[in-house]
């Protein structure tokens, strides 16, 4: 069981001429293997700052980030080992893959750098990774990113994140750049992988509907403060904080929209 703890983390950015900007204010949460937690909030709420601190692209101003009870290292081999265990999937599969390299290169490189498998097994491991993300190895391994669709590219990016056999995955808006009809496929894949490997997943998104369906817990961030957290259904169906309610009510919800005039009670009535 891997446990990543965010303990009272505060992050200030210096803005020239405007003093300090408080991006995160005393944020605490735990990420556990086998669990998916969604982090929702509008732009500027601090979602990505959390991702940056988790991957140590930024350092917290105060507070602690602990992996299995130990502070995470800021540099050197320790940081590298940490990053093997906690991996990131980025939003834009068009920008996060190198157009000059084949898919084989994208997956073989982390395997070689992190000494995941002996050199002579790298090719087999690359194929196994592609199979895990439901891509056909023969059809994909020699391609370059531009020859693949957006969904296929994001699958490659996920395979790359899985290469170092991480225990936790940080997915920052992993499907928002993809076409709608393939989004669920990628989210289902993440859910399957999470079960197969008992991964802990932090799903960062502004889409409340997928947050609800693909997470165990939801945490709502507003101006750097966690305003609400709880089980996915509770937070969406019975929000306690007015900001969560505002977000929920602003999200398109045709079920509710059409429930009234037709009398088809396909949704439960508003719990509040």
């Amino acid at each position: 069981m891997t446990i990543l703890e965010f303990k009272g983390v505060t992050k200030r950015y210096h803005v020239r001429g405007a003093g300090d900007m408080l991006a995160l204010d005393d944020v605490s949460f735990t990420l556990t293997s086998g669990q998916t937690m969604a982090l929702v909030g509008q732009s500027g709420s601090g979602k990505s700052t959390i991702a940056k601190i988790l991957t140590q692209l930024e350092r917290a101003t105060s507070g602690e980030v602990l992996l299995d009870g130990k502070p995470i290292p800021h540099r050197g081999p320790g940081l590298r080992r940490y990053r093997q265990r906690v991996r990131m999937v980025f939003q834009d599969p068009f920008a996060s893959l190198n157009p000059y390299h084949t898919i084989r290169h994208h997956l073989a490189r982390p395997l070689a750098l992190d000494n995941v498998v002996p050199k002579d097994q790298i090719e087999d491991e690359v194929r196994a990774l592609l199979t895990r993300v439901r891509l056909d190895p023969d059809a994909t391994i020699d391609r370059r990113p531009h020859e693949l669709s957006g969904g296929q590219r994001q699958r490659v990016a996920i395979a790359r994140a899985l290469a170092s056999r991480p225990e936790l995955l940080i997915a920052d808006e992993p499907v928002s750049m993809l076409d709608v009809s393939i989004r669920l496929g990628v989210l289902n894949l993440l859910a399957d992988l999470q079960r197969e490997s008992n991964l802990g997943v932090l799903y960062i998104t502004h889409d409340l509907a997928t947050a609800r369906h693909f997470s165990d817990q939801i945490m709502v961030l507003h101006h750097g403060v966690v305003v609400e957290r709880g089980s996915a259904d509770d937070v969406i169906l019975n929000p306690q904080h007015e900001y969560t309610r505002a977000l929920r009510d602003a999200s398109p919800d045709p079920d509710k929209h059409f429930a009234g005039p037709t009398g088809e009670a396909t949704t439960r009535s508003d719990a509040s």
Partner: protein
């Protein structure tokens, strides 16, 4: 069903004349009623933007309109065949009768001019008889109408948030009181809260001013809420067009069903998307039954 048509598109086709040629819009016919909000749904590459550009003759080579007509039924009683207008007539027609809010429009403002100046340009070009004072008052009024406020006339784009910049673009599109506004993903880059405000504003203004809207987006749940009718496009073809309610409750085409099935319901039943359902969930997803139509068994204990 459309007692007072504003725009009649008949057998419209657009081909991108590259090798091999791409049929971006194939034989699309539809009629837009006056005051109607028509949602145009479909995924990237389905031809929805090409169609919207095509009916305003905004397409550039290699795009070629290979067949079809778009007739605009002017409020004054004239029928204007858009393809028959010459360059000068077209220039006068655009923005005056039909305006457009482009995708990512908020980044289309000129960064070195105050927004008041940019609004003023519209009137200087299209309403040369207006005096400076009239133009100024009209610009100020427009900013009030879209909720930005006249005190921002002298603001530069970088001093406004994304949502405010998008409102300025909507103000600009409304400046000449067009009868039709075409909006191409106008709120996709914005937060849900800002998006909701802008949508409500568009809806209110539509009631006040009576213009029609063609609203283009891939976000079907959004369209279901704001549109009177929805047209679904795939591979350049119009596969289905019906009222929002019928598209929601009784979609006919398999692709419409699939699109609807791509959006998990926010507050409805977990349906096909229950975590842990594993392979069953995938199979059901392929069948594209809309999650909300399944029984709401999981909801009862929650209430």
């Amino acid at each position: 069903m459309t007692p007072d048509p504003l725009l009649t598109i008949e057998r419209f086709s657009v081909v991108y004349d590259v090798d091999p040629p791409v049929e971006a819009v194939r034989d699309v016919s539809l009629t837009l009623a006056r005051g109607e909000i028509l949602g145009l749904a479909g995924e990237s590459g389905c031809g929805k933007t090409t169609l919207a550009y095509g009916i305003q003759r905004l397409l550039k080579p290699p795009a070629v309109i290979t067949s079809g007509t778009a007739v605009f039924h002017d409020a004054g009683g004239d029928d204007i065949e858009i393809n028959a207008l010459d360059e000068e007539q077209m220039r006068a027609f655009r923005w005056d009768k039909v305006s457009m809010v482009f995708q990512g429009a908020m980044n289309a403002l000129n960064p070195v001019l105050a927004i008041g100046r940019q609004l003023d340009d519209v009137f200087t070009t299209h309403r040369p008889r207006m005096t400076k004072a009239e133009r100024r008052e009209e610009c100020a009024r427009l900013l009030d109408v879209v909720g930005v406020g006249r005190d921002r006339l002298r603001s530069y784009p970088h001093e406004l948030s994304g949502g405010m910049r998008q409102r300025v673009m909507i103000a600009m599109a409304m400046a000449l009181r067009p009868q039709l506004m075409i909006m191409d993903e106008p709120t996709t880059a914005l937060d849900v809260l800002v998006q909701r405000e802008i949508l409500e504003q568009i809806s209110e203004l539509r009631h006040e001013l009576g213009f029609s809207v063609i609203f283009i987006t891939h976000d079907l749940p959004l369209l279901l809420e704001i549109s009177d009718r929805i047209a679904v496009m795939k591979d350049g073809r119009l596969v289905e067009i019906d009222t929002a309610h019928r598209i929601y409750s009784d979609p006919q085409h398999a692709y419409t069903k699939r699109l609807l099935g791509s959006f998990p319901s926010l507050t409805g039943d977990r349906g096909d998307f229950v975590r842990g359902a594993g392979d069953a969930g995938h199979a059901a997803g392929a069948d594209a039954a809309h999650p909300a139509t399944a029984s709401a068994a999981t909801e009862e204990d929650a209430s």
